[in-house]
Symmetry: C2
Subunit: 325 residues, 2 copies
């Protein structure tokens, strides 16, 4: 690649700062500015630019779609927080807590529209193809969120159903970002597809790592409270796997903790974590993460470009894999 990830990140931050959200009425645009200002790692727009850069193309044409994908991602967080009734996002009040439910609905809608405005700035020659990819992906993200909500009401979710859900909810947007960048960069459709696969596998590893950090993360470096998923019985990979593989009194104990309405928070976390330990779920989970990580690197290595130019993508993938928060 011609540019470091750091250089690209700076261009993204600058472009986000320049989004003209001082439009009227302020009641519509203030929540949008707030949602985008809360930050985050800006990984998706970075992937768009890195993919274009990988093929040696000027970054000008990618910047609009990159910003579009970041606005879209923040729209999904905004509406997801509302649907999940979450109070806090990245240490700050969520949009519906700060501005109310109706503002969260409508400002989210406006963000989705805004994401298409930026998407439509892509080069006209590839616009139809690029929009088709974005729309397909956006719909898949909705499907993933719906499955996630449906799973809350079920106790028989299988491992493969779970993996399909996180593929839709998380992985496809990473794949889309990379493929989009590749398309703008003039990649062959085969190379664009390989980058998509790279993104899907990184995305799956990323989400599984998220599930793992909730239980095994270091409280000093992990951003959220350890054990949050355990407390609210979130159907993570670990819980689904534990429900499937536990037997006898251990299975009963797990079921009791899930059914409990009154409990000591720390006691529940410690007990469920013990069951996970007994079932060796940390290793099983890390092995699966490793499997997806290797599949990602495999896809990347099949792209006929020198390893030297792929370095930044590999190190981004490494950072996501070995992150502690």
């Amino acid at each position: 690649m011609l540019h470091s990830a750091e250089t690209l990140s700076k261009r993204i931050d600058e472009a986000i700062r320049q989004i003209p959200f001082d439009l009227k009425p302020a009641t519509l645009f203030d929540p949008i500015r707030y949602a985008l200002s809360v930050g985050g790692k800006r990984i998706r727009p970075l992937l768009v630019l890195m993919a274009t850069d990988l093929f040696g193309k000027e970054l000008e044409s990618s910047l609009g779609p990159a910003i579009g994908i970041e606005i879209f991602h923040n729209f999904t967080l905004l509406h997801d927080d509302l649907m999940d009734n979450s109070d806090i996002r990245r240490g700050k009040p969520t949009v519906h807590r700060k501005y109310g439910t109706n503002s969260a609905i409508l400002s989210g809608d406006a963000m989705l529209i805004e994401s298409y405005r930026y998407m439509a700035t892509a080069p006209p020659a590839i616009l139809p193809e690029l929009l088709a990819l974005f729309t397909k992906t956006a719909m898949e993200v909705c499907q993933g969120q719906q499955l996630d909500m449906d799973f809350e009401k079920r106790s028989d979710v299988t491992e493969s159903e779970y993996l399909e859900m996180i593929r839709l909810k998380t992985a496809v947007l990473l794949g889309c970002a990379l493929k989009m960048g590749a398309m703008i960069g003039g990649a062959t459709s085969q190379d664009a597809e390989l980058l998509y696969d790279f993104g899907i596998n990184i995305g799956l590893a990323f989400q599984l790592k998220d599930d793992l950090l909730d239980v095994y993360g270091d409280p000093r470096t992990f951003g959220k409270n350890i054990g949050g998923d355990i407390v609210c019985n979130k159907k993570t990979y670990l819980l689904i796997k534990a429900l499937k593989t536990s037997r006898g009194s251990q299975h009963e104990e797990l079921q009791r903790w899930i059914a409990a309405t009154q409990f000591d928070r720390e006691e529940k976390i410690a007990s469920v974590k013990n069951i996970y330990n007994d079932l060796n779920l940390r290793d099983i989970s890390e092995n699966l993460i490793e499997k997806y990580y290797l599949a990602a690197l495999d896809a990347l290595s099949s792209i006929l470009i020198s390893d030297e130019r792929k370095k930044e993508l590999v190190s981004l993938a490494e950072n996501l894999m070995y992150r502690v928060k």
Copy 2:
């Protein structure tokens, strides 16, 4: 025009029936199918096709964008009903009443995405321009809805603020439908703009007519209960005008009715209607509607196409103007 409105309506109904909403999960797509099946007059897609037809162009290329605009319109109804907490739409339970709040949020989002999928089927040569128009319009509709919600909390809304709100919330989408159809039909940008103006003026007349029918409609033909806007103090043209022009004891009486929390429904309707009558608001309102109607016809007549070919558009405008429900 080459086709009657009736023929065009049939093509639209058929195209809507063919939308593939049997995708998974059903929890996401059932509410969408329901929202679209509840019906309505399908005026917006009809305007797209009529505009293309006006310029003698094949309708194939317009059908996708026409369906896109109808899906978008139904998305706005779905989310508006949720924000307004409405229980009934066209005589049936609203989506959030039938499927729950989260389904209404997420299925609405999916409809907005779906509307872009159909929009993107427009001829590639005009796709960037067409998307820019659609995105600008979609954002304006959000701005209009936000203003409408903001107005609920204010008692000093002016007539011009109200007219700007209904321009954004209702009129621009009619203008957009017509302009889009004209663009696909190969109209000059001047003719496309004239059709847009025709739509804006029809839209303003349409909404003012809606406000009027709520009070002066015939209960036997009007779809909703007469006086619904009066009961809930909706800031319609009539109420805003009454608040502005009433004086002395009449003004005080109006304020008392607005502030009242316990009242007889029919008594409130009759009393407020009396004030409207005394202030001559029916005539004032009808004159304003007539003004917009004439401005619409004026824009249409400036398009250099034979009157014969404009007949269907004129009669649609007439129907919307002289409708009783």
